[in-house]
């Protein structure tokens, strides 16, 4: 049995989509699209089509990565290319249907770009600011195909990587991955081929294979988007791995918080079974393999592989010491190989396109492309994939479109709670495993949160330590008590109770936790603190002097009313919850600093035309004292 017949059917079906006789409409329905109102847009389009008596096919697609201008809708009109429209509301979508499908108006005001080249004055999609510089490989089908239709995946070359792998020996498959230089995309960057080989050569049966989809870093959504947009890319990679390693059983450990990704995986697994891609004697090659979906239950530590295994076995997600490594003793004590979602999708790409094609991009030690999630204070938030080695500045300014409001970058946070905050002076840094580690951060799974000058770095360090303290599993003392102690010193500093010796204490604690913690999560938990201490020490010192320069920490700011600007309108006086404002109608207002709780209501309430209330770094000078 082979995929040939199915692939022919799939290609015919896809051909009828891209060169249709009826209009084809694609609606982006990943979590971001849904949150931005894709459901309402779809209903508006359906109603308009009925009203106008137009027959059209509506497809769902995944994430094109332009999350900041969802909802996205693509339209292929017979004889015309595929055009992507953005930022649609139900009203705009209805107009678009009438204007484009009935009257032939392209609506350049709503268009993002055209697939496969410019068209009638509209730009080619691959020349637009955010998509232009990207190289989408793990995301090769994201936003293009219906993620719930295996035939779309097959028509675009899906499962060709598996077919090629099955024509090679398992060792040759591992060599191909090795030649490509693929490194784990989940955090540590361990060479994938080594891991596969260790597990292949390990004694014991059955062998297990796990896809780690427990994307727990706050600020990260690459894996969610990939699973929602192209689940088969990941599953194909797992089949390639199963063949190479000689694994019998596969598992996908998915975060509880990702219901849509879970549903699409369930659908994809069902389609694979129906197509002879799972179960016994896959494609007649004698390969037996099945994949089970396992739902996580909300524990950050379960991203660590030994904790993940404990969780799958039904225990609290506590990591254990290694060795033994999972490759020799993992799930139920059997040889187990764990890779991240993106690693699997890249493995499928490598087998389909070849190691050489994969190595086309990247640096000496970091080959290929990497998916990154771009969020925070940046114009184009979304999901991107770029060659490893791309400079941070290119990611933020070119792809990301810079900072809203023409503010400046203060820091870029990479790698989540295990990573660090890099300052604007390091924006030339290439994004690869070594460069980020040298700067004190990590690549991690690829989250990137941009912060402008309004973020306080002491507050950010405290934010991450609050997170790691809450998520610490409690097994080892350095992490359990160390994160708590660091957080409590930071609490003191932001509350204005910092002591001169605090920075030394923090640095000492951070080093102890780094060296003493049991698992990677504990060892890396001090990174946000260490990088902010290294690059933003003056902010810590300002806090110790009683000032929060970014105006974030409420104990270290105060509010004042500029007498010359104040019109005595009484608005601030009425909203003040602590009766700290004096004056009255026509009588200029003054804040009693002793009573003020620095809630900021007066600043929000003061009418724009007066703008008399100011937020000022540093504690108030208490005239009453």
């Amino acid at each position: 049995m082979s995929l040939n017949i199915l692939r022919q059917q799939a290609e015919a079906e896809w051909e009828a989509v891209v060169h249709p006789s009826l209009p084809q409409i694609f609606i982006g329905t990943s979590t971001c699209g849904e949150a931005a109102g894709a459901g309402r847009v779809r209903r508006a389009i359906e109603e308009k089509l009925v009203e106008l008596g137009i027959s059209a096919t509506i497809h769902r697609t995944g994430c094109l990565g332009e999350c900041w201008r969802e909802p996205l809708v693509d339209i292929i009109k017979p004889g015309s290319p595929r055009i992507t429209y953005h930022s649609l509301t139900p009203e705009k979508a209805s107009e678009l249907i009438a204007d484009y499908l009935v009257n032939g108006l392209l609506r350049p005001d709503l268009a993002l770009g055209v697939w496969g080249g410019g068209y009638d004055g509209l730009p080619a999609l691959d020349t637009t600011a955010m998509l232009g510089p990207q190289k989408r490989r793990a995301l090769r089908n994201a936003g293009i195909i219906d993620p719930e239709n295996i035939r779309h995946y097959l028509a675009r070359g899906g499962y060709r990587g598996l077919e090629r792998a099955l024509s090679l020996s398992p060792d040759e498959v591992i060599c191909e991955i090795e030649q490509a230089g693929l490194r784990g995309r989940g955090g540590a960057g361990f060479p994938t081929a080594w891991k596969w080989r260790l597990c292949r050569e390990a004694e014991g049966a059955p062998k297990h294979l796990i896809c780690n989809a427990d994307e727990g870093d706050p600020g990260a959504f690459m894996n969610r988007a990939l699973l929602e947009s192209d689940p088969h890319a990941v599953l194909e990679g797992m089949l390639v791995g199963a063949y190479a390693i000689g694994a019998d059983r596969g598992y996908i450990y998915v975060r509880e918080e990702y219901p849509l990704a879970t549903r699409r995986l369930e659908i994809a697994l069902e389609q694979m079974r129906d197509s002879g891609l799972l179960g016994r004697d896959i494609l007649g090659t004698g390969l037996d393999f099945d994949i089970k979906l396992v739902r996580g239950a909300g524990a950050f530590v379960c991203g660590e592989e030994t904790a993940l295994i404990a969780s799958m076995e039904g225990y609290r997600g506590l990591p254990r010491t290694r060795p033994p490594f999972p490759a020799s003793s993992g799930l139920w004590g059997k040889p187990t190989n764990i890779n991240n979602v993106e690693t699997w999708a890249q493995a499928a790409y490598i087998l389909a396109a070849g190691a050489e094609a994969f190595r086309e991009y990247g640096t000496e030690q970091s080959k290929g492309t990497k998916t990154l999630s771009l969020a925070g204070d940046v114009r184009h938030t979304g999901l991107i994939e770029v060659p490893l080695g791309t400079a941070l500045s290119d990611i933020i300014y070119t792809i990301g479109g810079g900072i809203p409001g023409d503010r400046s970058v203060k820091a870029v946070q990479t790698g989540g709670p295990s990573g660090g905050c890099l300052p604007a002076s390091l924006l030339a840094l290439p994004v690869d495993y070594e460069s980020l580690a040298q700067a004190g951060s990590i690549m991690g799974s690829g989250s990137m949160v941009v912060m402008d000058e309004r973020s306080c770095m002491v507050d950010i360090a405290r934010y991450f330590l609050t997170f790691t303290e809450a998520e610490s599993c409690g097994k080892c003392t350095p992490c359990r008590l160390g994160t708590r102690q660091m957080r409590s010193v930071l609490d003191d500093i932001v509350a204005g109770n910092g002591k001169a010796t605090d920075l030394e204490v923090l640095a000492h604690l951070a080093q102890s936790v780094r060296k003493g913690a049991l698992c990677g999560l504990g060892q890396s938990a001090p990174n946000p603190l260490l990088t902010t201490l290294k690059y933003f020490r003056e902010e810590y010192e300002a806090h110790l002097d009683g000032r929060c320069p970014s105006l974030v920490c409420s104990a270290l700011v105060h509010f004042e009313i500029t007498t010359e600007k104040c019109a005595g309108c009484g608005v601030c006086l009425r909203v003040c919850p602590s009766e700290a404002i004096s004056g009255g109608r026509g009588v200029k207002h003054v804040i009693n600093q002793a009573k003020c709780t620095r809630c900021g209501q007066c600043l929000k309430a003061c009418p724009m035309r007066f703008s008399a209330v100011g937020k000022i770094a540093g504690r108030a000078v208490r005239e009453d004292a």
Binding site: R40, P218, G219, R295, G416, S455
Partner: protein, 154 residues
């Protein structure tokens, strides 16, 4: 009519009584009953041949499991990095003020539960609040009232 115990027994028979089914079982029990009651956890423990403390230990380790009944409407404020940078703290404070409860609590009338979540992975639309499983993006502190009125239909 089914007693709670017999309803739960029927649910449990869908699973083989092995340890690795503990977390999947707790998920379906919570989906069926809204939370994990001491009686349900005892029944799960008996079914799997575990001690009640083992089951309790697992249930309290994972953030998804809830040991108290939940309000009719459940609001989860994302505390992810991007949401933090984009003002999730103010959104949470406003919801706490409006509902008169703190995160992790349910209003005395059982109408609303307010929770926080480490990250929903919808960072591009920060700050995010999830109401009964539905994601609302770019939430303004001033706009939280609309979430409560259920005006966030897709």
């Amino acid at each position: 009519m089914d007693t709670p115990e017999t309803a739960l027994s029927a649910l449990l028979t869908r699973f083989t009584p092995s340890r690795d089914n503990l977390i999947p079982i707790l998920h379906v029990v919570q989906e069926a009953e809204g939370y994990l009651s001491p009686a349900s956890m005892a029944q799960v423990a008996a079914y799997l041949g575990l001690s009640e403390s083992e089951v309790h230990g697992v249930a309290t380790f994972y953030a998804s499991f809830r040991l108290k009944p939940i309000g009719k409407q459940c609001l989860k404020v994302c505390r992810g990095t991007a949401c933090h940078v984009k003002g999730a703290g103010e959104v949470l404070a406003e919801l706490e003020k409006k509902l008169g409860i703190k995160a992790g609590e349910t209003t005395p009338d059982g109408a609303y539960s307010l929770e926080t979540e480490a990250c929903f992975g919808s960072c591009a639309l920060a700050p995010v609040v999830v109401v009964d499983g539905r994601v609302s993006g770019r939430v303004e502190p001033a706009g939280v009232g609309e979430l409560l009125k259920g005006e966030n239909e897709p």
